[in-house]
């Protein structure tokens, strides 16, 4: 029977990547001086597991590579080798190589043989080994037509669970014919016999079968130290006429490594998820409740007459249905949630490497790794986060010399944190560096024509300019930060996830980038608004307040722009019907309402004809059958089956600004 091992490959890859992460953080720990034996053992075990698994599943290149790593780690855990910075660096490098190898195998792409060879040489150099393939032991393939085996086990052979009958049976299966003679000379009197001891010995004649001496030793390999073994070849061939048996199965040599190293299935993002069993139990409970409610409601289907009493019960049942459905929905969403640690865990290594590259001293503080968010969002937030952290490292934190001069400590601090707020997850990247250079940003923006020459903007808006497409103040496009991937792409990627990003900065003290992401991509709390004959949806989370217009608070600014004075702020009024080309019920602001919303640190007041209800709304993509429309984040289907469009506040603000830019006016933000 042959078993297809491929079904275990995915599990192997997953656990290997986890193992590599464990190795990496363990090695980083070693470097910090955490030379704890348990730590080294953990690193060793991970390497050992990967080696074992890769060998078993036929990934011999991986097994070979990992073998030397394992040897090195073994020496370290035995105390034979000191933990030194260069050894840890080499091992860190080999973790990377291993990661790439596993990824390549999993995707079916080519392994980077050069980097593998390079690192192998480095490891072997440390081990003091010549870079040669270890010689294969020559086995003595002396075969004979027959053998005589004298087998005398020691008394406690059975105490290791070994069974003499089994051994003799195995010998028997090697040969065409076997004669067994038992020797009971050492057997004591019955009353003195210890049933757990072995007193007997045997002489076994094996005839035929093309057995080699090694084959016989093989049978006894486990009990080498527990017996006396004498093997003689039969001098004269016994006159044995029998069929030539060539049983290949008896000869078990090195395992065949026929499995191909490459796999044809692709999986860049893993399509499986690990779920805490308590979440699954919760779901089962919810579904149970739902079933009960459903069967209760189904009885109404048989109802002939509806009395006020039955209608009351029906209403109760429907209310229960709503609450159970909501609970089930929340439970299911939680299944898709994973802690953000999965996205954060690459940063210690990244910061470590980059600080070396940039010759800066950086301390990374990570908090809130347990904060959970949707798996898909988690997978996609990684790259934007990396870009922002790199940016802080490259442009934010000053060189150690500059920092000392500025009266700061040599080591810069980058804080990466995550927490829940409202229906969102908030991720912050804070550095105690030099902060954003307002003047430089403004002049660059003017230079690039993003902003008019006589522009006067409050600081927050200047900082926000770094997110505009076509903007980059890096004088030299550094390999790390400026690879054609700008802040505008970061913002776009985050918006695509339904989130937003903004920056706050204090010159000389540092900057904070704040990312807000919805906890789920699929569902939204929506405020229905009426504009003309049409219904649109505003995300409740962006709404600050709604109000009736008092005309004395409306101010016109340089032509077509209007602002509303709300307490001590002036908020731009956005006539949505104009931007969307809809015929409103009234163009007189006093007849409708203003809904004040906020996104990415900017506020606007949207003029609507009517406020309709609030409800949970399932977000459907416009792009599936159509395309992305600016200002809209998607669509949904209302209870009556009609489609309502969901407004993307940040996108709407962009649209409004573009609209206004053509009338050469800028938005004034919070400043009065």
């Amino acid at each position: 029977m042959s078993i297809d091992l491929q079904q275990f490959h995915e599990t192997f890859f997953e656990e290997s990547f986890e193992g590599l992460d464990i190795m990496e953080s363990g090695l980083l720990g070693l470097e910090q001086g955490d030379v704890d034996l348990e730590n080294i053992n953990t690193i060793f075990r991970s390497a050992h597991s990967i080696k074992g698994g890769s060998g078993t599943f036929g990934f011999s290149a991986v097994a070979e590579f990992t073998h030397d790593m394992e040897t090195l780690l073994d020496q370290m855990r035995n105390g034979e080798r000191q933990v030194s910075k260069s050894v840890v660096e080499t091992l860190l490098g080999s973790v990377d190589v291993l990661r790439n190898m596993l990824n390549a195998i999993r995707d079916g792409s080519d392994i980077d043989i050069d980097s593998v060879a390079e690192t192998t040489v480095a490891i072997k150099a440390i081990l003091g080994l010549e870079n040669t393939v270890s010689a294969v032991e020559n086995s003595t393939e002396v075969t004979a037509k027959g053998w005589i085996v004298h087998f005398k086990p020691f008394t406690d052979i059975m105490k290791t669970g070994n069974d003499t009958v089994r051994l003799i049976r195995e010998l028997n299966s090697l040969a065409d014919k076997a004669e067994v003679t038992i020797n009971n000379d050492s057997l004591p009197a019955l009353s003195d016999i210890e049933p757990e001891d072995c007193y007997q010995s045997w002489v076994i004649n094996l005839i035929g079968g093309d057995i080699s001496e090694d084959d016989i030793h093989e049978v006894f390999s486990w009990v080498d130290d527990d017996c006396e073994l004498q093997i003689e070849a039969l001098a004269n061939e016994a006159d044995y006429i029998g069929p030539e048996r060539r049983d290949d199965e008896r000869r078990q040599k090195a395992p065949e490594r026929r499995n191909t190293e490459r796999r044809t299935t692709k999986s860049s993002e893993s399509s499986s998820i690990r779920v805490n069993i308590s979440k699954v139990d919760e779901l089962i409970n919810m579904v149970g409740e739902l079933v009960i409610t459903q069967s209760m409601l189904s009885r109404f289907g048989d109802q002939e007459d509806f009395t006020p009493a039955t209608i009351e019960r029906l209403k109760d049942g429907l209310a229960q249905l709503e609450s159970h459905t909501r609970e089930l929905q929340e439970s299911v969403m939680r299944v898709r949630m994973m802690p953000i640690s999965f996205a954060f865990q690459r940063f210690p290594r990244l910061v470590h490497d980059l600080s070396t590259t940039f010759e800066k001293k950086i301390e990374l503080i990570v908090t809130g790794e347990g904060t959970e968010l949707d798996k898909t969002v988690l997978e996609k937030i990684g790259d934007p986060l990396v870009h922002l952290v790199r940016n802080s490292l490259d442009h934010g934190i000053e060189s150690p010399a500059d920092r000392v001069q500025a009266g700061k400590s040599e080591t810069g601090v980058i804080e990466l944190s995550a927490f829940h707020q409202g229906g969102n997850i908030v991720i912050q990247i804070k550095d105690d560096g030099a902060g954003l250079n307002k003047d430089k940003i403004l002049s660059k923006a003017k230079e690039k024509g993003l902003v008019s020459q006589d522009e006067r903007m409050p600081d927050e808006q200047v900082y926000d300019l770094i997110f505009r497409p076509g903007f980059s103040t890096a004088d030299v496009v550094s390999d790390v930060s400026g690879r054609g991937v700008g802040m505008d792409v970061v913002r776009r990627n985050i918006r695509e996830l339904g989130g937003a990003v903004e920056v706050k900065s204090t010159p000389g003290e540092g900057s904070v980038f704040t990312i807000r992401l919805p906890l789920t991509l699929a569902i939204l709390d929506g405020q229905l608004v009426g504009i003309g004959e049409e219904t649109y949806i505003l995300p409740v989370i962006s709404i600050i307040e709604s109000l009736q217009v008092k005309s004395e608070n409306i101010n016109a600014v340089a032509g077509s722009a209007e602002v509303y004075r709300l307490r001590d702020e002036y908020i731009p009024i956005v006539r949505l019907y104009q931007i969307f080309g809809i015929k409103p019920i009234s163009t007189d602001l006093e007849n409708g309402l203003l809904v004040v919303v906020e996104a990415e640190g900017k506020k606007i007041a949207i003029y609507v004809d009517d406020l309709l209800g609030q409800q949970q709304v399932v977000i459907k993509s416009l792009e599936t059958n159509f395309k992305k429309i600016e200002g809209l984040s998607g669509a949904t289907i209302l209870g009556d089956g009609t489609v309502a469009l969901i407004i993307d506040i940040a996108g709407l603000i962009d649209l409004y600004q573009k609209d206004m830019a053509s009338s050469v006016v800028s938005i004034k933000g919070a400043a009065a």
Binding site: I629, A635, G641, V643, L645
Partner: protein, 170 residues
């Protein structure tokens, strides 16, 4: 459907016949591959999408999917006509290269019939100013002495403003 529109197409081209659903639009009769027709609906209200060309009437809900509806008269700048009892929306499966199949609807004056046309009978269209751009016309067929203009749905509904931005060029 277990097979994509493309696969069905491939199977079809092996046969000698093409089955067409035909419809009327401003006095002309057009035909589309029946295998691409998902369903036919009467005209009902749509949700308008802002800042889109007039011929994109809006979107509707078809069993949970958001489907855009295109007015063919407006698309090809034909005379506008009031929708009446015969006005029909044909829901089509559209194939776009490198992307998943999409579902879109087109508003036409009325549905005509279903014909089995021998492939060889679909002749190349001379450039004689049909309302519809000849680049969207696969060819002309003659059925019962009528001329049917056979349309290339994929091309027509992927073109210009309707096209999903190709991932490469983004």
């Amino acid at each position: 459907m277990s097979e994509t529109a493309e696969e069905l197409d491939a199977q079809e081209t092996e046969k000698e016949f093409k089955e067409l659903l035909t419809f009327f639009l401003a006095g002309e009769e057009y035909g589309v591959d029946i295998l691409r027709v998902q369903e036919i609906k009467g005209w009902d209200s749509v949700t308008n999408i802002p800042n889109t060309p007039e011929y994109i009437r809006g979107v509707i809900n078809i069993r949970g999917a958001i489907v855009p509806i295109i007015d063919m008269r407006l698309r090809f700048m034909l005379e506008k006509k009031e929708y009446d009892a015969t006005t029909v929306v044909i829901i089509l499966n559209v194939v776009s290269k490198g992307n998943a199949d999409r579902v879109m609807g087109v508003v036409v004056d009325a549905v005509s019939d279903v014909y089995n046309v021998p492939i060889n009978d679909v002749k190349a269209s001379p450039d004689f100013g049909t309302a519809v751009d000849t680049e969207f016309v696969t060819g002309l067929a003659t059925i019962d002495e009528k001329m049917i203009i056979v349309l290339d749905i994929d091309h027509m509904l992927n073109a210009a403003e309707l096209a999903v931005v190709d991932k490469m060029t983004e």
